[in-house]
């Protein structure tokens, strides 16, 4: 049989970590125990449970992890609900990686980076953040703004507190939507927080979160003097093939699966507002 890109390989879930009430992180290896493929930060892969369905997820782990790929997944539909109910040792199917990824070795190299994430939007940026930490001397200062509904909804909180916050040259700015007992950090929405922090406009921004957050944060960044050409984001639309053929993830003449999912926001000006 000639292998077709639509035919997945088998993988096995070797670790499941509960991050928040509705987000778990799943570690996947091939059934040979090895990393299923090499990827670029920001790329995605198709996971499926035969009989339940197949869906696209961004790869959360950095390519520098030699042995596995991680996926932080929010429980919100059929496939994700099934994934949340499974145990370690479960086999799944996996195919990928898909998409362009962030330009970590070209346009982002040498830059001061500002990561802005809301909720599960940290998932694709997590891969980039840890890639930049691994190759720390290739990048300038790193700022991370991360917000969620509550402290309990911050994905991978222990890693943020124990690793990211303790590293020189990385500033982490956390915020939650409403005051909460045991939280002495910032309270408020991400867009306002970004404005209050009044970042230097020489930074390159990588942003991912709910559309409403992207919209207002971008407006805030522009008020600060940022240009759209300094801002990268990553999209998610319905996909069946992830190969540019099934015909549904397009925004205008661009396919999110192969031309994206990472776009620079000035490029989006030339595309219809249909995402």
């Amino acid at each position: 049989m000639r292998q077709d890109p639509l035919i997945p390989m088998l993988g096995e879930v070797t670790m499941i970590r509960t991050d928040t009430p509705d987000v778990k992180t799943f570690r996947v290896v091939g059934i040979d125990g090895k990393k299923p493929f090499e990827h670029i930060p920001g790329q995605c892969a198709m996971l499926s449970i035969p009989g339940v369905g197949e869906a696209l997820f961004s790869i959360t782990s950095s390519p520098t992890e030699p042995d596995y790929v991680d996926f932080s997944i929010k429980k919100c539909g059929c496939v994700t609900t099934w994934l949340h109910s499974m145990d370690v040792g479960q086999q799944v199917t996996i195919r990928g990686p898909y998409g362009n990824g962030f330009p970590v070795d070209t346009e982002l190299a040498g830059k001061d980076l500002l990561f802005i994430a809301g909720g599960i939007g940290l998932a694709p940026l997590h891969s980039v953040i840890n890639y930049c930490r691994h190759y720390r001397d290739r990048y300038g200062k790193i700022d991370i703004v991360y917000g969620s509904r509550s402290k309990d909804d911050l994905v991978d909180y222990p890693e943020i507190i124990d690793e990211w916050c303790k590293e020189d040259g990385i500033n982490v700015h956390l915020t939650i939507d409403n005051p909460q007992e045991g939280w002495d950090g910032h309270v408020g929405f991400v867009p306002n927080f970004v404005k209050e922090l009044a970042f230097d406009t020489s930074k390159t921004v990588l942003m991912c979160g709910p559309p409403i957050m992207i919209k207002f944060t971008l407006a805030g960044l522009q008020e600060l003097g940022f240009d759209k050409s300094q801002v990268y984001t990553t999209f998610e639309l319905k996909m069946k093939c992830a190969l540019g053929k099934c015909g549904r993830c397009n925004i205008g003449d661009k396919y999110v699966c192969k031309d994206g999912p990472v776009f620079r926001l000035d490029e989006m000006d030339e595309l219809p507002d249909e995402y």
Partner: protein
């Protein structure tokens, strides 16, 4: 060039069918023309074209991708590819033949769709020049000559004779195996072609102007106010996409029969409300967005990615079949009118 008497068509079909499976456009029990596996007694239709296009033979409405055996936490991948037998499809019209260029650009670009590729490699396309093009035909708008179709072999048929000209290596190999054909002069079809071109000139859509859909007008066309009115009556039935020779959107679904899970691919339609539906919602919430997607794809998005080639071949099926009489010609004309 070769020929055979029209009265001997059955002998030609029998000779082809000895070599490979042969599909010809014939009337089904409902009286509609479709590509039917030839056996003795199946006769060529009198109709201009088949209700559904020839794409069915290369990109079937449903096809198996793979099976899975799932037990507890373990699973197994089981090959379940439909067998691809060599075949000949006879009587493909010029428009449908051009549609394969469009399907090829999607399925044969990297990463190659091996299911489609296997059928393309196994299939020989024998086209048939049109002699009675209809009022709904507008292949000429896309530079297609209905009097001189492409394909592995091109045929022309008049009252007396079928003329046969092989164009490709595949076509030549097939021709070499058909001793029922006899040699004839290339000029034999000139009269048939001239007659066809005379009819084409008089067709109402012959001068359809498709300028103004260049990719630099993408945003302007997307935001054209005409979409609201154009899409208002659309039922979202998807008929246009199913009869369309260039529509190639597909869905992938699993069927669990209790023993194995069969993963198959089937045609899908951008006209359907769940086409882009995800757990958190859809980016095309009303029929206006879905309707716009279909026509923007054919007229602007596809050409933008394919050197200006339109994603339509002017076969006219959507003009004939749409229950509310909406179609790509009306859309193109209205958009241009409003843009002015």
């Amino acid at each position: 060039m070769k020929k055979i008497a029209r009265s001997e068509l059955n002998a030609l079909f029998a000779a082809i069918a000895e070599q490979k499976q042969l599909f010809i456009p014939a009337d089904n029990t409902a009286g509609q023309a479709e590509f039917i596996l030839w056996k003795d007694g199946v006769a060529l239709t009198e109709k201009l074209n088949t209700t559904r296009s020839a794409k069915d033979l290369f990109f079937p409405q449903v096809e198996n991708l793979v099976n899975f055996k799932v037990s507890d936490k373990k699973m197994e991948i089981i090959e379940n590819r439909d067998p691809a037998a060599p075949f000949v499809v006879f009587g493909v019209r010029a428009c449908d033949c051009r549609s394969f260029d469009i399907l090829d650009s999607v399925f044969l670009s990297e990463p190659v769709d091996t299911f489609y590729k296997a059928r393309r490699e196994n299939g020989i396309i024998v086209t048939l020049g049109c002699t009675k093009p209809a009022e709904t035909c507008f292949c000429g708008a896309f530079g297609i000559d209905a009097a001189n179709p492409a394909g592995d072999v091109t045929c022309w048929l008049d009252g007396e004779t079928l003329y046969w000209k092989s164009n490709t290596d595949k076509g030549k190999a097939l021709t070499a195996a058909l001793s029922v054909l006899t040699d004839c002069d290339e000029n034999a079809v000139v009269a048939i072609q001239e007659n066809t071109r005379k009819i084409l000139e008089k067709l109402p859509l012959n001068n359809l102007d498709l300028s103004g859909f260049e990719s630099d007008k993408l945003m302007e066309l997307f935001n054209n106010p005409a979409w609201t009115e154009l899409s208002e009556s659309c039922l979202g039935c998807g008929t246009c996409t199913f009869v369309c020779p260039t529509c190639q959107c597909y869905d992938v679904q699993d069927f669990d029969n209790g023993r194995e899970v069969r993963r198959f691919r089937c045609w899908d339609s951008c006209m359907y409300s769940d086409f882009t539906m995800m757990a958190h919602g859809t980016n095309r919430p009303t029929q206006k967005e879905r309707f716009r997607q279909r026509f923007m794809h054919k007229l602007v998005y596809y050409p933008s990615n394919n050197n200006g080639v339109f994603g339509c071949v002017g076969c006219g099926r959507c003009l004939q079949k749409c229950p509310i009489h909406m179609n790509i010609v009306k859309v193109a004309k209205k958009l241009k009118e409003v843009a002015k």
